[in-house]
């Protein structure tokens, strides 16, 4: 099913997973978190993965993000078989190819926003001055150009998640993986975050996959993949009915900045 939606497209998929199985062993008990998941995602897609709690969403994201490896199955990222890579190569892929956004933000607390955003560039070996500049640009892109020096713990939840998104895009990854990025936010901030993803996807063509169990949030994406008990149960394109963002979105982040200041 998943293939049918995009097979007409003959490009190499960014993500090409075939028959992914993940089994956790807890003593004598085996937990089958994923039981044969096959999924292709092409460059420039904005897709959401939906499913109830415990259905294996995070497990799948960790594998797609090269943080974890499947028990069996084949996973190719940009045509490269990830199974064959060593730890350092995996670290380099996470650094340059993938941007993570987590439910709980995972920012360095007593550290200014701009330094939080710089972190991936440190591991990429980017020099200090260039790092600053790119981090500043990333923060401006998420509408936090006026919060560069604020410490993470001085920002609202929505702002913190935007710092995390800036950190995810600062190294120009080809893929953003967001695991329930709105899970810790009120619905208004959640909406803002979704619009931000939508805009990033539209403007720079970056591939975004995120996980949610909120259909309203998922409606911001063009494709919804459903998962239950470690198996894909549905895959639908929502090309035309994609939920619109508030008007001012087109004018850069005009909407996000005032919302941030109001808090």
């Amino acid at each position: 099913m998943a293939e049918q939606a995009t097979d007409k497209d003959s490009r190499v998929p960014v993500i090409d997973a075939q028959g992914l199985v993940k089994t956790y062993k807890m003593g004598d008990i085996e937990v089958h978190a994923l039981c044969g998941v096959s999924l292709r995602i092409y460059a420039g897609e904005l897709a959401s993965i939906m499913g109830p709690s415990g259905s294996g969403k995070t497990t799948l994201m960790n594998i797609l993000g090269c943080l974890d490896q499947a028990t069996s199955g084949v996973y190719k990222l940009d045509g490269v078989d990830v199974d064959r890579l060593n730890d350092n190569q995996l670290a380099a892929i996470r650094n340059k190819k993938i941007g993570f956004v987590f439910q709980s933000f995972n920012l360095l607390r007593r550290t200014p926003a701009i330094e939080n955003v710089e972190q991936p560039l440190i591991y990429a070996g980017v020099g200090m001055r260039q790092r600053r500049e790119r981090a500043r640009q990333a923060l401006e892109a998420v509408g936090l150009g006026d919060r560069l020096k604020h410490h993470a713990n001085e920002l609202s939840g929505g702002q913190q998640q935007r710092v995390a998104i800036a950190r995810a895009i600062v190294a120009n990854p080809s893929l953003i993986l967001a695991d329930e990025p709105t899970g810790n936010l009120d619905s208004k901030s959640g909406e803002e975050i979704m619009c931000l993803f939508q805009r990033l996807n539209e403007e720079s063509g970056i591939t975004v996959i995120f996980v949610t169990h909120d259909l309203r949030i998922a409606s911001h994406t063009r494709r919804i993949v459903r998962i239950a008990d470690g198996q894909l149960t549905g895959d639908s394109a929502v090309d035309d009915q994609i939920l619109a963002c508030p008007e001012p979105l087109d004018a850069g982040m005009a909407v996000a900045a005032p919302a941030g200041t109001a808090r």
Partner: protein, 427 residues
């Protein structure tokens, strides 16, 4: 967008850059936890301070002892055959010999001498009843007892009568007395030395062991008896004189010592017909005993201080390890995040190791202050003048760095091996 190398690699440039970043990062973290960092550092500071202060005090004690010795007036100058500095001295070798003629010439013509003594030493096989012992036997002049300031404990020393009469009498060192006469009074007993019977007339006071060995494993007989009876064959010189093993000169005072040494050298040069650029066949040594005693004192002191240093630095190191382990646990999520955004295990290892090293290095630097201050404080209350040595400072700081490395490596490895998924899940 840039063209990515695929699969991407973290380049060398990244590695080099990371060294600076790691230092920045670890300083940042330490600053965020100032009190904790300060307390941990202090453990190392105490250790380093203790080493520096104690070594300074040790050096001060050495100087103090030197002073005590010279003021006690043990102004002893010894003349031995051969070249002891070059390790070639062999008192019994044919080419290196001091003779009775040399002794008489020195004793008769050198100024500033209070007294002189001379010995000729060989090895004797002692037997008493069933006891048997190989002992160094010195034939000595009666003056030996006062010149070396080494007295008999019981009985009497060799006197002029013994000397003149080539008597077969012997004074035993404490070790020999203990070996041959366990629990008995050796006075007036007759022992056989190389099968010649000798009467025991005295036992020397204990001198103790030095790093050269047991100084009490000796026996004394009259010089004449040694040269003309017991060791008659080996005591012959080529010129028909008799050999001596060592000449002792008791000098009037410190100032006279260099004059005496120079005069003895000149006299023996003439007597031995040594050309100006030929090596000497004798050595003039001053205050050898002092040096020997030193060796023993310094050795004990060094072991003692080394132990204290090791213990206190060890405790400081355990403090570092403890704090680093706490820190790794507290920052599990941070480690997970860093791995998720591309940190290699090596990068994480470097970050935590740098923190441990910083703690120990800063601790070491503060410790220098404590050590120098402590040494100074001691000089205010005690008679000793501590001497802070640069080498002690270098040693202590080097040690503290090593401690940081040693105790930091385990927590850092633990951090670097964390699985990013588990680390990100960690609450």
């Amino acid at each position: 967008m840039q063209a990515w190398q695929w699969p991407p690699r973290l380049g060398r440039r990244g590695d080099r850059m990371y060294v600076i970043e790691v230092i920045r990062l670890s300083l940042h973290t330490l600053m965020a936890n100032k009190l904790r960092a300060a307390l941990t550092m202090f453990g190392i500071s105490i250790g380093v301070g203790a080493v520096i202060a104690l070594l300074a005090i040790g050096a001060g004690v050495q100087s103090y002892i030197t002073q005590q010795f010279s003021s006690a007036g043990t102004n002893l100058v010894a003349v031995v055959p051969g070249q002891i500095q070059r390790g070639g001295g062999n008192p019994f070798g044919p080419q290196a010999a001091l003779s009775m003629g040399d002794y008489r010439a020195v004793a008769g013509s050198i100024p500033f001498l209070v007294d002189t003594a001379v010995d000729f030493t060989g090895v004797g096989n002692f037997t008493f009843e069933s006891q048997n012992s190989q002992v160094s036997v010195s034939g000595v002049t009666p003056s030996y007892e006062s010149v070396r300031n080494w007295r008999v404990r019981i009985g009497r020393f060799i006197d002029d009568m013994d000397y003149g009469g080539r008597s077969r009498v012997v004074v035993l060192g404490q070790t020999v007395a203990n070996d041959l006469f366990p629990g008995q009074n050796p006075l007036d007993a007759v022992v056989k030395i190389n099968n010649v019977p000798f009467r025991v007339i005295g036992v020397m006071e204990t001198k103790g062991a030095s790093f050269l060995g047991d100084q009490d494993a000796v026996a004394f007989i009259p010089l004449t008896t040694a040269q003309e009876r017991l060791f008659q064959a080996s005591a012959q010189t080529k010129g028909g004189d008799r050999k001596v093993s060592m000449i002792y000169l008791q000098v009037t005072d410190d100032g006279a010592r260099p004059i005496v040494v120079a005069a003895v050298k000149q006299l023996l040069h003439e007597r031995h017909r040594i050309a100006a650029d030929d090596p000497d066949d004798f050595s003039v040594v001053s205050q050898t005993e002092l040096i020997n005693t030193f060796g023993a004192v310094t050795g004990v002191l060094t072991i003692f201080l080394g132990a204290i240093a090791a213990i206190s630095l060890l405790v400081g190191g355990i403090g570092i390890m403890n704090i680093m382990l706490v820190s790794v646990t507290e920052r599990t999520r941070e480690i997970g995040l860093r791995k998720a955004i591309g940190a290699t295990s090596r990068a994480i290892l470097g970050q935590f190791l740098a923190e441990a090293m910083f703690l120990s290095l800063l601790g070491g630097l503060v410790g220098i202050g404590i050590g120098v201050g402590g040494a100074f404080a001691v000089s205010k209350v005690a008679d000793i003048q501590p001497e802070v040595q640069l080498s002690a400072i270098a040693l202590a700081v080097g040690f503290s760095l090593a401690v940081g490395l040693f105790f930091g490596i385990y927590p850092a490895r633990r951090a670097s091996r964390l699985n990013p998924i588990d680390a990100l899940r960690f609450e």
